[in-house]
């Protein structure tokens, strides 16, 4: 069966919230909502899962910490197969833990650097914002002052239209297939 799309356009984010709630209560699939700004409380209404960004931050931080420790171990501590031993102010350079206090800032910075940058990159990739990515919004007005709810339907078109018309919808556009 051929899938069809409806674009419903709204002026106010509160209307979007209530209409999405009504539609999902009737088990009508809401594909996507396009909005100029984040709408508070839309995520649970749309049934989106909570972000796992915090977990990635922890993992990236751990990677950064490990990297920082290995880096400073290679650079500063003498031994076979390692970098030139550094003698700074006569501090011991044979063991890692004797010098640990002076290594903490480097390890800390590496943790922050890795967590910050890798999180940003993860965020961009998860949102498919690769270099050269183009807009996915079907209507440029959603970057200004309009809110667009995208619905897919198979055969219950009249129900959907009737439901939408009961709300404060300003425009209903029908599109063929995906």
């Amino acid at each position: 069966m051929k899938m069809k799309i409806i674009h419903a356009i709204f002026d106010d984010e509160q209307d979007v919230l209530s209409v999405v709630k009504d539609l999902r209560d009737r088990e009508i699939e809401v594909n996507e909502v396009y909005s100029p700004f984040p709408i508070h409380g839309l995520d649970p209404v749309l049934g989106l899962k909570e972000t796992r960004m915090a977990i990635t931050a922890f993992i990236y931080g751990c990677i950064g910490l490990t990297f920082g420790a290995l880096l400073i171990y290679y650079i500063m501590i003498s031994g076979v197969g390692k970098s030139w031993p550094m003698n700074i102010g006569g501090k011991p350079n044979f063991t890692f833990y004797h010098n640990l206090p002076s290594f903490v800032p480097i390890m800390f910075e590496c943790t922050v650097l890795f967590a910050g940058h890798l999180m940003s990159i993860t965020y961009l990739f998860r949102n498919k914002l690769y270099p050269g990515a183009t807009t996915t919004s079907p209507d440029p007005r959603t970057t200004d002052d309009k809110f667009l709810v995208e619905l897919t339907y198979t055969d219950n078109k009249d129900d959907i239209i009737a439901l939408l018309k009961k709300s404060n919808v300003t425009e209903i556009n029908e599109k063929d297939e995906i």
Partner: protein, 404 residues
């Protein structure tokens, strides 16, 4: 459980328990002064410092909410307001210690630089370095400063509580008392910025007279912040468990949990910043401070132990969002952090006054319990006098519907 009344009703068993705790404290302090007055003064000073920090930070917290025009904390504002009624008690004990130190009354030799002859050239115990600090570290100025701090803090604490109680009678949204409170808070924050640092130098840093750290004021402030937030959060959660503070939701405790988490890390950051520079430069008169704490057998374990639990427990246990919304976990972390900082408070004083014959023993714990009992008694009494939730406040509705 929902209570229809908005008043805190003092619990009989809690009252009896707090009285028993006060008696334990009095008993310990008597034993301490009979057996070893020198150790007893340190004991009294550090326990008092710990509770002074908690009650003083509660004033700062209330002032901060006014100045930032923050709405989230309004429903639990009576909790820090009750805690700050303990400030006069700790202030009096502090002034008592300061005055007796100046008079050398009862074997109070906490402040080495107050010893007679230490600043007179030719005297047997003349110390050139300490003599050079005379313009700041002299008995008269020390007394004047101590009194100024206490007067400012206690005045602002009383005024802020009074204004908040006026708001309950004002009606409407309590705008008038809010603006009054904002003005007092502004002054308090400005004065606190200076006095918190100088009080830390005078009362704590001057014990290790030769040693100084430019970071010390902030180090002490961060410790006050941790114990202050831990106490506010712990009291809020315990009251909520008994059915009070009906409007408290996950977002409020999440916000307080964030503060606790953040300031635990700030404290560790300060601790480490101070430690690393001294360790790296390795100048004898600076490293003595950490040598006394890390190299002496009676403090070594306590130093590392308190550092570890004050950092690792809050950092790991409160890292995720869900953890900061979990009441039992927050209660656990608050208690651990309070114990950890209590030990650390001991380490701020004891190595400087008692050197290698100080140890954290039963008398210190006994007096700590006594202070805790008095704290519970005073705070719960002032909590029970007025409504536990504010009636009229510009941000009351916002706070009731806090959602993050």
């Amino acid at each position: 459980m929902n209570k229809t009344t908005n008043m805190y009703i003092t619990n009989r068993s809690v009252s009896i328990a707090s009285l028993v705790m006060i008696l334990i404290g009095l008993f310990s302090v008597c034993i301490a002064f009979i057996t070893d007055p020198h150790a007893a003064w340190t004991n009294l000073l550090f326990n008092n410092y710990f509770f002074l920090g908690i009650s003083l930070f509660a004033v700062f917290f209330v002032a901060l909410q006014y100045v930032a025009e923050a709405g989230w904390s309004t429903i639990l504002k009576r909790v820090p307001e009750a805690i700050m009624t303990f400030l006069p008690y700790t202030s009096i004990v502090m002034l008592f210690i300061v005055v007796t130190a100046v008079l050398h009354f009862g074997g109070n030799h906490i402040y080495h630089w107050l010893e007679p002859g230490i600043m007179t050239e030719g005297s047997a115990n003349y110390d050139k370095i300490i003599a050079g600090k005379e313009p700041y570290l002299n008995a008269t100025f020390f007394l004047i400063r101590s009194f100024i701090y206490v007067i400012i803090w206690v005045y602002c604490a009383r005024r802020l509580r009074q204004i908040s109680l006026e708001g309950d009678l004002e009606g409407d949204i309590g705008e008038k008392s809010y603006w009054k409170g904002l003005r007092v808070s502004g002054w308090f924050i400005v004065l606190f910025a200076v006095t918190s640092s100088t009080a830390a130098w005078d009362w704590i840093m001057s014990i290790d007279t030769h040693w100084f750290s430019t970071l010390f004021g902030w180090y002490i402030f961060s410790e006050w912040a941790v114990i202050g937030f831990a106490s506010i959060l712990l009291m809020t959660l315990l009251l909520n468990k008994q059915g009070y503070l009906r409007h408290l939701n996950d977002s409020h405790i999440h916000d307080l949990g964030k503060w606790l988490f953040a300031f635990s890390i700030v404290w560790t950051y300060m601790w480490f910043s101070q430690f690393m520079l001294i360790w790296y430069a390795n100048i004898p008169e600076e490293v003595i401070y950490h040598m006394e704490r890390i190299e002496l057998d009676n403090y070594r374990f306590l130093s590392w132990f308190s550092l570890a639990i004050n950092f690792i427990i809050p950092a790991l246990f409160l890292m995720s969002r869900d953890a900061k919304r979990n009441k039992n976990r927050l209660i656990f972390v608050c208690i651990v952090v309070l114990i950890g900082h209590w030990i650390n408070s001991y380490l701020l004083f004891a190595p400087g006054t008692l050197h290698d014959h100080g140890h954290l023993g039963i008398l210190e714990i006994g007096l700590g319990i006594g202070f805790l009992g008095l704290f519970i008694k005073v705070v719960l009494t002032s909590l029970s006098k007025r409504d536990i939730e504010l009636k009229h406040h510009p941000f009351l509705e916002e706070s009731k519907h806090l959602h993050t």
